[in-house]
Symmetry: C2
Subunit: 125 residues, 2 copies
């Protein structure tokens, strides 16, 4: 396991504010999942809704608006008939690389831990 | 800005599952905030509730239970009179170091970006 010394004092408070800022923008239940769906190539509202399991149309609509406001998502309206609205990720999303990488590494590690614990429980039973 | 080539195919899908796993456990509106409050030294329920702005007692109680279930939080009941219940972080929380670091770095960067944009808007106005 990857242990680091815990920071203290000012360093800690500044980081906490920054983590708070980050969570304010990309935290919550859906933001990163919507970004992931878009990164997989979904562009239409209904496609995105299908890809993000459990999200309602009202909530997805709000999340897309907030993501657009924060510069992650570009909304394009193609005015030919039928009118098509497409959502795509902006280059700014690439700045999330380290965050997603750290989350992915942690997710892998956590899954392995859960598996090991289950294995031990089965062995003990 | 920190840009990396986007991964594709299997690599991508495996990471997405792992990010999904991580978000399942530490995602949502409150989990990391509760962990941060505990890391700042809050141990009592009311202390934690004051530190995590806007959380209701019912939700905090649920979040603490889930965090305990996932091995992040230890709940200790001291049975002297008055009975005291204390919540503390386990060593397993230290594994979140990289995730919190990446979030903090991103939060700093995003705040600077927003500031620059505001500055530009003021200069243009």
């Amino acid at each position: 396991m990857n242990r680091k010394p815990r920071p203290t004092g000012d360093e800690c408070r500044s980081s906490l504010t920054a983590v708070g800022d980050a969570l304010y923008v990309i935290g919550g239940k859906w933001k990163l999942k919507v970004i992931i769906a878009l990164s997989e190539g979904c562009t239409r509202f209904n496609e995105i809704q299908r890809a993000v399991e459990g999200i309602s149309a009202r909530v997805l609509s709000n999340e897309l608006k907030e993501l657009e406001l924060n510069g992650f998502v570009k909304r394009e309206v193609h005015t030919e008939i039928p009118v098509v609205v497409e959502y795509t990720l902006t280059d700014y999303c690439d700045t999330l690389g380290d965050v997603l990488e750290a989350l992915a590494a942690w997710g892998h590690m956590h899954r392995d831990k859960i598996r090991q614990e289950r294995h031990l429980q089965t062995a003990e039973a």
